[in-house]
Structures are given as C-alpha cells and as structure tokens.
C-alpha cells in the first residue's frame, strides 16, 4: 500500500513541477465544462424546461454527471494508455512485478488537472441547488452523495471497460468514447428525455440512469419506492462485468511488443 501511495505522491509532485502548465490545463478543463453549461444556459433563456424538468433540475443532472465524470476520469482516465502499453510491450514489464497490475497503471497516470472540471461542477451545483426546488432532508442528502460516488465508480468502470477491450483489438476504439465523453455531455438532461429505448439501455446495460434519472425522481418527491432510493447502489452491479472482462482480457494477453 505504501508503494502505491508513493506512486501517487510522486505523480502529484511531478505534475506540480510545471506550475504554469498544470494551471493552464486546469483552466482548460474548467472552460470545457463551462461551455456545456453555457449551452444549457442559452437554451433555457428561451425555453422553460425540457419535458417536465425545469432549468434547475436539468442543472442538477448536469452537475451530478459532471462530478461523477471528473472523479471517475481523474482516477480511470489514465487507463487510456492501455493500448499504447500493449502495443509497445511495456505491459510485460508491469506483469512481472509482484504487485497489483491495475494499480500500477492507474497510480502513475492520474490526471489531477481534472480538478478543474470538479471545481466547475461544484459551482454549477451551487446554482442548481437553490433553483431545483428540492426539499432537502438528510435521507436525500445521503442519496445525493451516493449518486455522485456511485456515478464515479460507473465512469471508472467505463474507462476500464474501454481499456479492457483493447486487449482484444490492440487499438483504441473511437466509438467507445460515446459512453464516456458522450455520456458526460448527454447526461445534462435527465436520461428519460432521450426516449424509452435509450432509457432502458442506460438502466440495464450501462446503468448511468440509475445514478441520475431514478434517484432524481426521488429527490423531487415524484417517486418514493425503495428501488428509486437504492438505485445508485444497484448500479454498482456494473462493476462485475467490467472487472470480469478485464480479467478475461488479462488472462488472454499475448505480448505484442519487442
């Protein structure tokens, strides 16, 4: 454990070495999230709501997804180096070390500039909470925190899934972006607006609706069922297939580098 901690500190220190560079990247991340926010803002200057969700409630969705994504990507985004590791054969070097393989890849590839994204999401949350007309109770606060935490896990699993697929293809697959970066953008509206079939897909295949749409209905007092309250926790079942695919990929691994 100490070893991983050292990895983590080392990476943090090395990213802090180039202060201007780090700051610029962070500002970039901050602006990225802001343009999506302005996109919503400008549209809602003209309209009152989308389906039966108001401006504040849409912003609530946006900030939950954005925070989950920021945390998930800060930790898991580094897994994008997977295809390169596989192609260059650096994977072999990692495999022979008697330590967790996943942590050896994650720790040195953490990207702290994602904090810019997180900061922006926190600001939007500040606008969203008073505007969303949610009557807060402590149960709701717990559910809300669960939404963000479980969401981060789901996004992390998505990055792991994308990385695991490269075990089989040796290349990064562009269209998988739609589940990571795409969902960050599309998650600004409650997933129900995209229609029944997309909602079903995001409930049972990639359970992002479980951390956004269903618990939101509970927060808004539209649903009180236990399933709605527990839905963020249920989404954690997604961990099983992602880890499984990673394990299968790892056991099928054939070195391709020299």
């Amino acid at each position: 454990m100490k070893l991983y901690w050292n990895y983590f500190i080392m990476e943090l220190k090395s990213q802090m070495q180039y202060k201007a560079s780090f700051l610029l990247t962070m500002i970039g991340q901050f602006l990225t999230a802001f343009t999506t926010f302005f996109g919503i803002q400008f549209l809602f200057d003209r309209i009152d709501g989308v389906d039966d969700f108001t401006y504040g409630q849409v912003l609530l969705c946006f900030s939950v997804i954005m925070m989950s994504f920021a945390i998930g990507e800060m930790i898991g985004g580094g897994l994008a180096v997977f295809p390169d590791l596989l192609r260059e054969g650096s994977m072999d070097r990692i495999l022979v070390r008697p330590r967790s393989i996943l942590l050896q890849i994650i720790m040195p590839n953490m990207d702290f500039s994602r904090l810019g994204l997180l900061a922006q999401a926190a600001i939007v949350l500040g606008i969203a909470i008073p505007a969303s007309s949610v009557v807060w109770t402590w149960q709701k606060v717990v559910v809300f925190i669960l939404m963000i935490l479980c969401g981060s896990v789901i996004f992390f699993c998505l990055f792991l899934l994308v990385a695991s697929i490269s075990f089989f293809t040796l290349q990064s697959l562009d269209f998988m972006d739609i589940f990571t970066y795409g969902m960050r953008d599309f998650g600004k509206y409650p997933f129900s607006v995209y229609g029944e079939s997309i909602l079903m897909f995001l409930t049972f295949v990639i359970p992002l609706a479980l951390i956004q749409y269903y618990p939101l209905l509970y927060l808004l007092d539209r649903q009180n069922g236990i399933l709605y309250i527990l839905s963020p926790v249920l989404s954690l079942f997604f961990v099983i297939p992602s880890v499984l695919l990673y394990k299968i990929g790892l056991s099928n691994y054939k070195s391709s580098g020299s």
Binding site: Y18, A20, S21, F22, L23, L24, T25, M26, I27, G28, Q29, L31, T32, T35, T36, F38, G39, F42, L43, D45, R46, I47, D48, G49, V50, D51, T169, Q171, L173, D174, F175, D177, I178, G182, F186, Y189, V193, Y194, G195, I198
Partner: protein, 271 residues
C-alpha cells in the same frame, strides 16, 4: 513555384493513403459520429417538444445542422491529431524542418489541411449519407437549390482555410509555451464554442450573439453549416462568404508574420 506545389501535393497523397490503411478505425469513427448525432437530435427533439415555438430555428433545420456538424467535425476542428507537428516543436526536430528548402508555413499548412481533409473524407462523410437515409423527423435535408449548395461548398472551403489558419497561429504560440496540452484544450474549447460547435450561434442570446458573429471563429463552421441548413441564404450568404474571405486573409498574413518572428530566434530543445 511549380516544383513547390508538387512537393505539397505529394505530401497530401502520402497522408491520404496512410489514413485509408485502418479499416476498423474507419468503421468505429463512422459509428461514433452517427450515434453522437442521433443522441444530440433526440435531446433537441425533447426541447422542441416542450418549447419549440420559442426557438429561432425550426426542428428540421436543427436536425440538418447536427448531421452536417457531425459530418464535418474533423474538417472544422482547429485542434486535431497533427502529431508530427506537435512532436516536431516539442522535441526540437523543427530545426530539420527549418533546414528544408520548403517554407515552413506552407509545409505545415498543407500537412494540417491534408490531415483533416483525408480523415474527414473517409471517417466522417459517410455520416452525412447515413443522415440522408434516416426516416422522416430525423432526416437530413439537403439545401433546397443548386445555388444554395454552391454557396455552401464555397463557404466550406473558406471555413476550412480559416480553421487551418487558426491552427497555424496555435502552432506558432507553442514555440513560446511549453505546455502543449493546456493550450490545446483552451484553443479547442474556445474555437468550438464560438463557431457554433456546442449549440448553433443562432441560439445565443442577442448581445452575445452579435459579438460572437464578428469574431473570426464565426467564419469557421458556423457559416457553412448555417448556409447548409438554410438559416442564411441568398445575399446574406454572399455577405457571409466575404466575411470569411476577410478573416482568411488576415489570419494567414498574421500567421505568416508570427511564424517568421518565432523561427528567427527559435530555441530548440533536445540534442
């Protein structure tokens, strides 16, 4: 001059053949563009369902806008995988480029242009065809008249030029900044937002829109996409094309001058 043109042309051919090599990547990119556009359209569908009357574009124009935006997304992106150029600046290999008997500005301009053009032709344009084949509410509607189509093509060419010219300015700035990643993220997001890449410029509130429409970024994808979906037509379109031409000249001149300035005292890293 002729010999120089030949050099540029063969550079383009090499790049084009290179991009055609990876079939799986092509399929992945087309699928991604298609799904992305569909999700965006479904989002707009919900918005129009709720408050469509108060929006300045009708639904079918917005649908066409989204399809065309996805199909030309690489052609009109300032920041694209021009890895040769980035690594040439970072590693200092740029000194070899400077020693070549071909002007650096022209060389990089061609390289960037052909990177985007050849990638788009194979990976993105099929999305346009898929859009035309979609059923009714989601279908991409082509420009009504041949004239409008012609104006669109001219405007596309100019927007493409402006895009690459802005990219050139960014490369020059990388001579001075060590952080490539930060600059790239900031440039990508500003150019995409102010050229109508997040939402069409027409959806911007009045005062913001008037400012945005004067910026050079409005001479990028904003103009051809609006001509494509019919929100700008006839004399306005011609005026728009003049506006693009104006910015293209300014940006190329600025880029040329800035690059001359930067390369005169280039400090190369690496040994």
């Amino acid at each position: 001059m002729r010999a120089e043109l030949n050099v540029y042309f063969s550079m383009f051919r090499i790049r084009f053949n290179h991009n055609l090599q990876y079939r799986a990547v092509v399929l992945g990119a087309v699928l991604k563009g298609f799904l992305w556009a569909m999700m965006e359209i479904l989002g707009y569908l919900a918005i129009y369902r709720t408050g469509g009357d108060s929006l300045p574009m009708d639904f079918s124009s917005t649908v066409s806008y989204v399809w065309a935006h996805q199909s030309f997304i690489v052609l009109f992106s300032v920041v694209f995988a021009d890895s040769e150029i980035y690594s040439s600046i970072r590693t200092g290999a740029v000194v070899y480029d400077l020693a070549r008997p071909v002007g650096l500005y022209g060389r990089w301009f061609c390289q960037s242009a052909s990177n985007r053009f050849s990638f788009s032709l194979v990976n993105c344009l099929p999305v346009l065809i898929l859009g035309i084949l979609m059923p009714a509410p989601f279908r991409l509607v082509l420009p009504a008249s041949a004239l409008q189509l012609l104006l669109f093509l001219v405007s596309t060419l100019l927007a493409f030029g402006v895009t690459v010219a802005i990219a050139m300015l960014m490369y020059v700035s990388l001579f001075y900044f060590i952080s490539q990643r930060g600059i790239r993220i900031i440039v990508r997001i500003t150019t995409s937002f102010f050229s109508g890449g997040v939402i069409p410029l027409l959806f911007f509130p009045g005062p913001v829109r008037r400012i945005a429409e004067c910026l050079p970024f409005a001479a990028m994808q904003n103009m051809p996409l609006q001509i494509f979906c019919g929100t700008i037509s006839g004399a306005d379109a011609v005026k728009g094309i003049m506006f693009q031409l104006f910015w293209l000249c300014i940006l190329i001149l600025a880029g040329w001058a800035a690059m001359g300035q930067a390369t005169r005292k280039v400090v190369a890293f690496g040994g």
